[in-house]
Protein backbone atom coordinates (compact mmCIF):
# COMPACT_ATOMS: atom_id res chain seq x y z
CA UNK A 1 0.00 0.00 0.00
CA UNK A 2 2.71 2.46 0.92
CA UNK A 3 4.78 2.39 -2.21
CA UNK A 4 1.62 3.44 -3.93
CA UNK A 5 1.43 6.41 -1.59
CA UNK A 6 5.10 7.25 -1.85
CA UNK A 7 4.77 7.50 -5.63
CA UNK A 8 1.58 9.49 -5.30
CA UNK A 9 3.32 11.81 -2.86
CA UNK A 10 6.19 12.52 -5.21
CA UNK A 11 3.76 13.24 -8.02
CA UNK A 12 1.91 15.60 -5.71
CA UNK A 13 5.02 17.76 -5.54
CA UNK A 14 5.51 17.73 -9.31
CA UNK A 15 4.55 15.70 -12.38
CA UNK A 16 7.06 13.24 -13.81
CA UNK A 17 7.67 9.94 -15.57
CA UNK A 18 8.40 6.58 -13.99
CA UNK A 19 12.01 7.16 -14.77
CA UNK A 20 11.95 10.56 -13.05
CA UNK A 21 10.35 9.06 -9.98
CA UNK A 22 12.91 6.31 -9.87
CA UNK A 23 15.61 8.95 -9.52
CA UNK A 24 13.69 10.66 -6.78
CA UNK A 25 13.32 7.38 -4.96
CA UNK A 26 17.05 6.87 -5.08
CA UNK A 27 17.86 10.42 -4.15
CA UNK A 28 15.34 11.69 -1.69
CA UNK A 29 13.31 8.70 -0.56
CA UNK A 30 16.01 6.05 -0.34
CA UNK A 31 16.22 6.28 3.45
CA UNK A 32 12.48 6.35 3.98
CA UNK A 33 10.94 3.98 1.49
CA UNK A 34 13.28 2.21 -0.94
CA UNK A 35 11.67 0.88 -4.10
CA UNK A 36 12.75 -1.08 -7.13
CA UNK A 37 12.22 -0.20 -10.75
CA UNK A 38 9.92 -3.13 -11.43
CA UNK A 39 7.62 -2.36 -8.64
CA UNK A 40 7.41 1.33 -9.39
CA UNK A 41 6.34 0.93 -13.01
CA UNK A 42 3.72 -1.58 -11.95
CA UNK A 43 2.36 0.74 -9.30
CA UNK A 44 2.17 3.67 -11.68
CA UNK A 45 -0.02 1.66 -14.02
CA UNK A 46 -2.25 0.62 -11.15
CA UNK A 47 -2.46 4.19 -9.86
CA UNK A 48 -3.48 5.35 -13.32
CA UNK A 49 -6.10 2.60 -13.57
CA UNK A 50 -7.61 3.69 -10.27
CA UNK A 51 -7.68 7.28 -11.45
CA UNK A 52 -5.38 8.64 -8.74
CA UNK A 53 -2.92 9.82 -11.37
CA UNK A 54 -3.18 10.40 -15.11
CA UNK A 55 -0.87 10.65 -18.09
CA UNK A 56 -0.36 14.34 -18.70
CA UNK A 57 2.03 14.07 -21.63
CA UNK A 58 3.74 11.55 -23.84
CA UNK A 59 7.34 12.15 -24.85
CA UNK A 60 10.13 10.49 -26.81
CA UNK A 61 10.89 6.78 -26.19
CA UNK A 62 7.35 6.19 -25.02
CA UNK A 63 7.89 8.44 -22.03
CA UNK A 64 4.71 8.86 -20.05
CA UNK A 65 4.53 11.87 -17.81
CA UNK A 66 2.12 11.39 -14.94
CA UNK A 67 0.26 14.00 -12.96
CA UNK A 68 -1.75 13.59 -9.77
CA UNK A 69 -5.53 13.98 -10.02
CA UNK A 70 -7.86 15.58 -7.49
CA UNK A 71 -8.99 12.13 -6.38
CA UNK A 72 -5.33 11.26 -5.94
CA UNK A 73 -4.70 14.27 -3.77
CA UNK A 74 -7.65 13.36 -1.58
CA UNK A 75 -6.43 9.80 -1.19
CA UNK A 76 -2.96 11.06 -0.33
CA UNK A 77 -4.26 13.31 2.41
CA UNK A 78 -6.47 10.59 3.76
CA UNK A 79 -3.53 8.22 4.02
CA UNK A 80 -1.16 10.72 5.57
CA UNK A 81 -3.60 11.55 8.34
CA UNK A 82 -4.44 7.93 9.19
CA UNK A 83 -1.47 6.21 10.78
CA UNK A 84 -3.73 3.77 12.59
CA UNK A 85 -4.00 1.40 9.65
CA UNK A 86 -0.28 0.94 9.15
CA UNK A 87 1.06 -2.57 8.91
CA UNK A 88 2.90 -3.67 12.08
CA UNK A 89 6.54 -2.71 12.31
CA UNK A 90 9.23 -5.35 11.99
CA UNK A 91 12.86 -4.79 12.84
CA UNK A 92 15.42 -7.36 11.92
CA UNK A 93 18.03 -5.42 13.87
CA UNK A 94 15.96 -5.78 17.00
CA UNK A 95 15.26 -9.44 16.30
CA UNK A 96 19.00 -9.92 16.06
CA UNK A 97 19.54 -8.42 19.49
CA UNK A 98 16.71 -10.47 20.88
CA UNK A 99 18.50 -13.61 19.71
CA UNK A 100 21.97 -12.53 20.74
CA UNK A 101 21.83 -14.84 23.74
CA UNK A 102 22.13 -17.74 21.33
CA UNK A 103 25.65 -16.89 20.21
CA UNK A 104 28.89 -17.04 22.23
CA UNK A 105 29.22 -13.99 24.53
CA UNK A 106 32.42 -12.76 22.90
CA UNK A 107 30.75 -12.63 19.52
CA UNK A 108 27.64 -11.04 20.91
CA UNK A 109 29.75 -8.31 22.43
CA UNK A 110 31.59 -7.77 19.19
CA UNK A 111 28.28 -7.55 17.38
CA UNK A 112 27.10 -4.75 19.65
CA UNK A 113 30.32 -2.85 19.09
CA UNK A 114 29.86 -3.16 15.34
CA UNK A 115 26.30 -1.94 15.72
CA UNK A 116 27.42 1.13 17.65
CA UNK A 117 30.04 1.92 15.05
CA UNK A 118 27.60 1.45 12.23
CA UNK A 119 25.24 3.91 13.85
CA UNK A 120 28.06 6.42 14.23
CA UNK A 121 28.80 6.09 10.54
CA UNK A 122 25.15 6.59 9.67
CA UNK A 123 25.02 9.74 11.75
CA UNK A 124 27.97 11.06 9.83
CA UNK A 125 26.50 10.09 6.49
CA UNK A 126 23.20 11.80 7.25
CA UNK A 127 24.96 14.83 8.65
CA UNK A 128 26.87 15.16 5.41
CA UNK A 129 23.68 14.71 3.42
CA UNK A 130 21.98 17.34 5.50
CA UNK A 131 24.82 19.81 4.99
CA UNK A 132 25.01 19.14 1.26
CA UNK A 133 21.36 19.84 0.58
CA UNK A 134 20.16 23.40 0.33
CA UNK A 135 16.66 23.43 1.63
CA UNK A 136 13.92 25.54 0.18
CA UNK A 137 11.61 27.37 2.48
CA UNK A 138 8.40 25.55 1.59
CA UNK A 139 6.45 23.06 3.68
CA UNK A 140 7.64 20.11 1.60
CA UNK A 141 11.29 20.86 2.27
CA UNK A 142 10.60 21.48 5.90
CA UNK A 143 9.14 18.03 6.40
CA UNK A 144 11.83 16.35 4.33
CA UNK A 145 14.31 18.01 6.63
CA UNK A 146 12.31 16.82 9.64
CA UNK A 147 12.46 13.24 8.36
CA UNK A 148 16.21 13.52 8.02
CA UNK A 149 16.47 14.87 11.54
CA UNK A 150 14.57 11.81 12.66
CA UNK A 151 17.18 9.61 11.00
CA UNK A 152 19.93 11.48 12.78
CA UNK A 153 18.26 11.08 16.13
CA UNK A 154 17.46 7.40 15.70
CA UNK A 155 21.02 6.58 14.86
CA UNK A 156 22.46 8.68 17.66
CA UNK A 157 20.10 6.94 20.06
CA UNK A 158 21.02 3.55 18.66
CA UNK A 159 24.71 4.18 19.22
CA UNK A 160 24.09 5.28 22.80
CA UNK A 161 21.90 2.30 23.43
CA UNK A 162 24.39 -0.17 21.97
CA UNK A 163 27.08 1.22 24.26
CA UNK A 164 24.75 0.96 27.22
CA UNK A 165 24.14 -2.70 26.38
CA UNK A 166 27.88 -3.33 26.17
CA UNK A 167 28.43 -1.64 29.52
CA UNK A 168 25.69 -3.75 31.10
CA UNK A 169 27.19 -6.84 29.55
CA UNK A 170 30.60 -6.04 30.99
CA UNK A 171 29.12 -5.28 34.38
CA UNK A 172 27.57 -8.74 34.49
CA UNK A 173 30.59 -10.75 33.45
CA UNK A 174 33.59 -8.52 33.95
CA UNK A 175 36.27 -11.24 34.19
CA UNK A 176 35.76 -13.11 30.98
CA UNK A 177 37.44 -10.71 28.55
CA UNK A 178 40.24 -13.02 27.51
CA UNK A 179 42.99 -10.74 26.24
CA UNK A 180 42.44 -11.25 22.53
CA UNK A 181 39.68 -8.78 21.85
CA UNK A 182 39.53 -5.66 23.93
CA UNK A 183 38.68 -2.83 21.55
CA UNK A 184 38.03 0.05 23.88
CA UNK A 185 34.57 1.38 24.27
CA UNK A 186 35.74 4.87 24.91
CA UNK A 187 33.00 7.19 23.83
CA UNK A 188 29.54 7.71 25.17
CA UNK A 189 28.25 10.00 22.46
CA UNK A 190 28.58 13.77 22.66
Amino acid sequence: MSLRIAALGLLAKQPGSGYDLLKLFEKSLANVWPATQSQLYGELNKLAESGLIEVSAVGPRGRKEYRITDTGREELQRWVLHPEDDPPQRSSALLRVFLLGEVPPQQARRHMIALAEHSDAEVERLQALNDSLDWDDDASSFFARAALEYGLRVNAMQADWARWVIAELDRRRPAESSGSDMPELAREKT
Copy 2:
Protein backbone atom coordinates in the same frame (compact mmCIF):
# COMPACT_ATOMS: atom_id res chain seq x y z
CA MET B 1 13.76 -14.83 5.70
CA SER B 2 13.42 -13.39 9.17
CA LEU B 3 10.27 -15.09 10.32
CA ARG B 4 12.13 -18.27 9.63
CA ILE B 5 14.87 -17.08 11.94
CA ALA B 6 12.51 -15.82 14.60
CA ALA B 7 10.90 -19.26 14.80
CA LEU B 8 14.28 -20.93 14.81
CA GLY B 9 15.40 -18.61 17.59
CA LEU B 10 12.45 -19.46 19.78
CA LEU B 11 13.06 -23.15 19.25
CA ALA B 12 16.69 -22.60 20.19
CA LYS B 13 15.56 -21.58 23.65
CA GLN B 14 13.23 -24.55 24.04
CA PRO B 15 11.39 -27.12 21.93
CA GLY B 16 7.70 -26.59 21.19
CA SER B 17 4.81 -27.00 18.78
CA GLY B 18 3.54 -24.50 16.24
CA TYR B 19 0.82 -23.65 18.67
CA ASP B 20 3.33 -23.02 21.44
CA LEU B 21 5.38 -20.78 19.21
CA LEU B 22 2.31 -18.83 18.22
CA LYS B 23 1.81 -17.95 21.87
CA LEU B 24 5.39 -16.89 22.20
CA PHE B 25 5.07 -14.71 19.14
CA GLU B 26 2.12 -12.96 20.68
CA LYS B 27 3.69 -12.65 24.07
CA SER B 28 7.37 -12.02 23.72
CA LEU B 29 8.00 -11.27 20.07
CA ALA B 30 4.96 -9.17 19.23
CA ASN B 31 6.90 -5.91 19.39
CA VAL B 32 9.87 -7.21 17.47
CA TRP B 33 8.57 -9.48 14.75
CA PRO B 34 4.82 -10.03 14.57
CA ALA B 35 3.68 -13.14 12.72
CA THR B 36 0.42 -14.75 11.73
CA GLN B 37 -0.68 -18.30 12.37
CA SER B 38 -0.77 -19.25 8.68
CA GLN B 39 2.70 -18.12 8.02
CA LEU B 40 4.17 -19.75 11.07
CA TYR B 41 2.88 -23.24 10.32
CA GLY B 42 4.13 -22.93 6.78
CA GLU B 43 7.58 -21.86 7.92
CA LEU B 44 7.85 -24.70 10.41
CA ASN B 45 7.28 -27.21 7.64
CA LYS B 46 9.88 -25.55 5.48
CA LEU B 47 12.36 -25.40 8.35
CA ALA B 48 11.85 -29.10 8.93
CA GLU B 49 12.31 -29.85 5.24
CA SER B 50 15.62 -27.99 5.24
CA GLY B 51 16.72 -29.91 8.31
CA LEU B 52 17.10 -26.85 10.55
CA ILE B 53 14.53 -28.26 12.95
CA GLU B 54 13.07 -31.73 13.47
CA VAL B 55 9.96 -33.26 15.00
CA SER B 56 11.02 -34.44 18.43
CA ALA B 57 7.67 -35.79 19.57
CA VAL B 58 4.12 -36.29 18.41
CA GLY B 59 1.29 -35.67 20.85
CA PRO B 60 -2.49 -35.69 20.94
CA ARG B 61 -4.44 -33.91 18.18
CA GLY B 62 -1.57 -34.34 15.77
CA ARG B 63 0.61 -32.06 17.88
CA LYS B 64 4.13 -31.95 16.49
CA GLU B 65 6.80 -30.83 18.86
CA TYR B 66 9.79 -29.37 17.08
CA ARG B 67 13.38 -29.15 18.24
CA ILE B 68 16.29 -27.26 16.71
CA THR B 69 19.05 -29.31 15.09
CA ASP B 70 22.78 -28.63 15.10
CA THR B 71 22.56 -27.37 11.54
CA GLY B 72 19.74 -25.10 12.70
CA ARG B 73 21.84 -23.68 15.51
CA GLU B 74 24.65 -22.95 13.09
CA GLU B 75 22.32 -21.21 10.68
CA LEU B 76 20.87 -19.16 13.53
CA GLN B 77 24.28 -17.98 14.67
CA ARG B 78 25.29 -17.19 11.13
CA TRP B 79 22.22 -15.03 10.63
CA VAL B 80 22.49 -13.24 13.94
CA LEU B 81 26.06 -12.21 13.26
CA HIS B 82 25.43 -11.00 9.70
CA PRO B 83 23.33 -7.86 9.73
CA GLU B 84 24.74 -6.78 6.38
CA ASP B 85 22.29 -8.86 4.36
CA ASP B 86 19.15 -7.45 5.95
CA PRO B 87 16.42 -6.19 3.68
CA PRO B 88 16.26 -2.38 3.56
CA GLN B 89 14.20 -0.72 6.28
CA ARG B 90 10.90 0.93 5.46
CA SER B 91 9.04 3.23 7.80
CA SER B 92 5.53 4.27 6.98
CA ALA B 93 5.60 6.69 9.91
CA LEU B 94 8.56 8.48 8.36
CA LEU B 95 6.97 8.43 4.93
CA ARG B 96 3.99 10.08 6.48
CA VAL B 97 6.09 12.89 7.90
CA PHE B 98 7.88 13.24 4.61
CA LEU B 99 4.53 13.85 2.92
CA LEU B 100 3.09 16.07 5.61
CA GLY B 101 3.71 19.12 3.43
CA GLU B 102 0.86 17.92 1.23
CA VAL B 103 -1.84 18.39 3.86
CA PRO B 104 -3.16 21.65 5.34
CA PRO B 105 -0.77 23.02 8.00
CA GLN B 106 -3.32 22.81 10.78
CA GLN B 107 -3.84 19.14 10.20
CA ALA B 108 -0.14 18.51 9.85
CA ARG B 109 0.43 20.11 13.20
CA ARG B 110 -2.33 18.08 14.77
CA HIS B 111 -0.81 14.94 13.31
CA MET B 112 2.53 15.67 14.97
CA ILE B 113 0.82 16.24 18.30
CA ALA B 114 -0.95 12.92 17.99
CA LEU B 115 2.34 11.27 17.14
CA ALA B 116 4.01 12.69 20.23
CA GLU B 117 1.14 11.53 22.41
CA HIS B 118 1.18 8.10 20.86
CA SER B 119 4.87 7.77 21.64
CA ASP B 120 4.24 8.81 25.23
CA ALA B 121 1.61 6.10 25.52
CA GLU B 122 3.98 3.53 24.05
CA VAL B 123 6.65 4.47 26.58
CA GLU B 124 4.14 3.89 29.33
CA ARG B 125 2.99 0.61 27.89
CA LEU B 126 6.53 -0.70 27.57
CA GLN B 127 7.44 0.56 31.00
CA ALA B 128 4.52 -1.37 32.45
CA LEU B 129 5.53 -4.44 30.48
CA ASN B 130 9.07 -4.12 31.70
CA ASP B 131 7.94 -3.82 35.33
CA SER B 132 5.54 -6.74 35.04
CA LEU B 133 8.12 -9.18 33.75
CA ASP B 134 10.48 -10.81 36.16
CA TRP B 135 13.67 -11.39 34.30
CA ASP B 136 15.84 -14.40 34.72
CA ASP B 137 19.54 -13.98 34.96
CA ASP B 138 20.51 -15.79 31.77
CA ALA B 139 21.82 -14.32 28.53
CA SER B 140 18.52 -14.81 26.74
CA SER B 141 16.60 -12.72 29.24
CA PHE B 142 19.29 -10.10 29.26
CA PHE B 143 18.97 -9.53 25.53
CA ALA B 144 15.18 -9.61 25.60
CA ARG B 145 15.40 -6.90 28.22
CA ALA B 146 17.86 -4.99 26.03
CA ALA B 147 15.41 -5.15 23.11
CA LEU B 148 12.68 -3.75 25.34
CA GLU B 149 15.00 -0.97 26.46
CA TYR B 150 15.50 -0.15 22.80
CA GLY B 151 11.76 0.20 22.37
CA LEU B 152 11.61 2.55 25.33
CA ARG B 153 14.37 4.72 23.94
CA VAL B 154 12.99 4.86 20.41
CA ASN B 155 9.63 6.02 21.65
CA ALA B 156 11.06 8.56 24.04
CA MET B 157 13.18 9.91 21.22
CA GLN B 158 10.19 9.98 18.89
CA ALA B 159 8.17 12.02 21.35
CA ASP B 160 11.02 14.51 21.75
CA TRP B 161 11.50 14.74 18.05
CA ALA B 162 7.81 15.26 17.34
CA ARG B 163 7.74 18.11 19.83
CA TRP B 164 10.83 19.59 18.26
CA VAL B 165 9.10 19.50 14.87
CA ILE B 166 6.04 21.22 16.31
CA ALA B 167 8.20 23.92 17.87
CA GLU B 168 9.98 24.51 14.57
CA LEU B 169 6.66 24.64 12.81
CA ASP B 170 5.38 27.25 15.23
CA ARG B 171 8.56 29.24 14.91
CA ARG B 172 8.07 29.45 11.16
CA ARG B 173 4.41 30.40 11.10
CA PRO B 174 3.74 31.70 14.57
CA ALA B 175 0.36 33.40 14.05
CA GLU B 176 -1.80 30.52 12.94
CA SER B 177 -0.94 27.64 15.14
CA SER B 178 -1.51 28.29 18.82
CA GLY B 179 -4.53 28.01 21.02
CA SER B 180 -7.66 26.25 19.97
CA ASP B 181 -7.75 22.81 18.45
CA MET B 182 -10.95 23.53 16.60
CA PRO B 183 -10.99 22.34 13.02
CA GLU B 184 -11.26 25.77 11.34
CA LEU B 185 -12.58 24.35 8.12
CA ALA B 186 -13.40 27.79 6.82
CA ARG B 187 -9.77 28.71 6.65
CA GLU B 188 -8.24 25.64 5.17
CA LYS B 189 -8.25 26.53 1.51
CA THR B 190 -6.89 30.07 1.66
